[in-house]
Amino acid sequence: MASVGVPLGERPGAWASIRRTWSEVWSDALGRTGVILLVFIAIIAVFGPMFFPFNSADVGKSAQDIFRPPSAQHWLGTDELGRDVFREVLAGAGISLLVGLLATAISILVGAAIGLIAGYRVGWLDSVLMRVTDFFLVIPTLPLVIVLAAVFGQSLGIIILVIGLTGWPGTARIVRSQVLSLRERQFVVRVRSFGASDLRIVGLHILPNVLPLIFANTVLVIAGSILSEATLAFLGLGDPVHVSWGTMLHFAFVSGATGRGAWWYFLPPGIGIVIVVLGFTLAGHTLDRILNPRLRGR
């Protein structure tokens, strides 16, 4: 890190370091697999519904139309209402991704802000913030999320908020420990002796140096958020209007698709979740190894 201390925008090597990180990820077998899986899912989520639009009111006309195995007409068969599973899976991709990404954005913003403040302002504020963080770390996440979603309702917005506002403590801890070590580094001490304000030091000198770490963490948190959404939806707490992969699995479960052997109904959404979570996990794992100073050289 030769250019440490120069703000990100003015740093001559900002683009170069992004390119270097990218080529390191791409040259890693696991990282490359993750990126390919994610591109695959992104294509499905964006172009799938364009070519195969899904209408949740488009149900079967008779009892013959429900739980039909895959055929030329219905590539992945039909569900318990006689709807086309293939189109439903394509539509679900976008909802699952949307919730995962937005919830993660909230988690990262809250976590990074708390981590930055706690790490920089050592003292009572740090202790208070870390107590709160530890409190949220020890509370079991899934029961908390279930209770919050059950209390506040089942719209997409609530689900995003609930997952986002419970997913930040890990990020806060990681960012804080990095800031703690940065604030004692020579370049920060030097800028401070020039009389730079705290806001300037944090914004221009510390934040750019924690950003890579935050980025690697973000990718891992997305995987967790998508899993949380799927689990919530599976337990019947999803948004009934916007069908995600988790919601599909909820209806597959309560309509007894596993007992009927209707594999075409519960396999595709589950495989979708696994692909997207695995993609983010592999990419995040690789990024973390490259960008996390503690793991470098392992």
Binding site: L30, R131, D134, F135, V138, I139, P140, T141, L142, P143, L144, I146, V147, L148, A150, V151, G153, A223, L227, A230, T231, F234, L235, G236, L237, G246, L249, A252, F253, T258, G259, G261, W263, F266, L267, G270, I273, V274, V277, L278, T281, L282, H285, R298
Partner: protein
Amino acid sequence: MFRASYLARKGAQLALTLFAVVTFNFLLFRVLPGDPIRLIARAGHLSADEMAQLRATFGLDRPLVVQYGYYLRSLFHGDFGFSITYRRPVSDILAERMVNTAILLGAATVLIVVLGVGIGVIAAARRGSKLDSSSVVTALLFWSLPTFWTGMLLVFLLGVWLHAFPISGITTPGAVYTSTLDRWSDIASHIVLPTITLALVDIGQFVLITRSSLIDVLTEDFILTAKAKGLSRRAVIWKHGVRNALLPVITASALYISLVVGGAIQVETVFSWPGMGRLVYDAVLRRDYPILESCFLIFAVAVILANLASDLMYQVLDPRVREA
């Protein structure tokens, strides 16, 4: 073994956290939309007088602070309220369900820790081999599986398709047992699939943590010394390496407990295992708030206590942190 000041600080922290959880729980369920009295009187029409009377009976006409006092007093007496859907005291229901969850999580935890640490050690000992890299990939893959979906998959493959194991409940409905052993073997066959599901999904992190921790330890000087003394490879790895590598594993097990509680909710739902997790699922569907509230409290307290236990265990096992 422990310094008095350390124990005092831990005790104070525990009390503060428990207090925060209880208060959080109280407030959360008081901001609920809807009027609990209306919920009770769902069908019939009530006059304003009768409503007021019911309100007074449940203490809902008192200020929030007084209600909080009532709440704390009830908790201390083991009174978790009354379930509207089961028409029974919540504490009775919880007492039945907790045992079943404990059996399931106990079985799964033993399997996960033994296999996870074992595989992690083998992978680290053969670092860079095919076995090592494939164990890492497999661990990441299994970590990405949603627990509930893995359960559905096993129900389909091993239950519906192969008829190898029962897929629902804790015992065979209507079964008559000739002996206690008979009954336990029935439970054992029912526990197989839920346990495997939990193990598959949660084993990965133990593999990864054990592996990376042991890889670190194996670079230390005392390992070189042990090798130089002419100890066998096995002795170096297990007696000198693994012992020291287990510390981060203990820290991680605190996180595991938080995770496995979530796993129990999913697995019990899929396999209709009559424990706390299934209770939560049913309570969510029927919006039985007294049950939901109590289950959350118990899960939270269990995880907090487990965290404390892992902290204390760390202190016992690593003399270096005892001073801190």
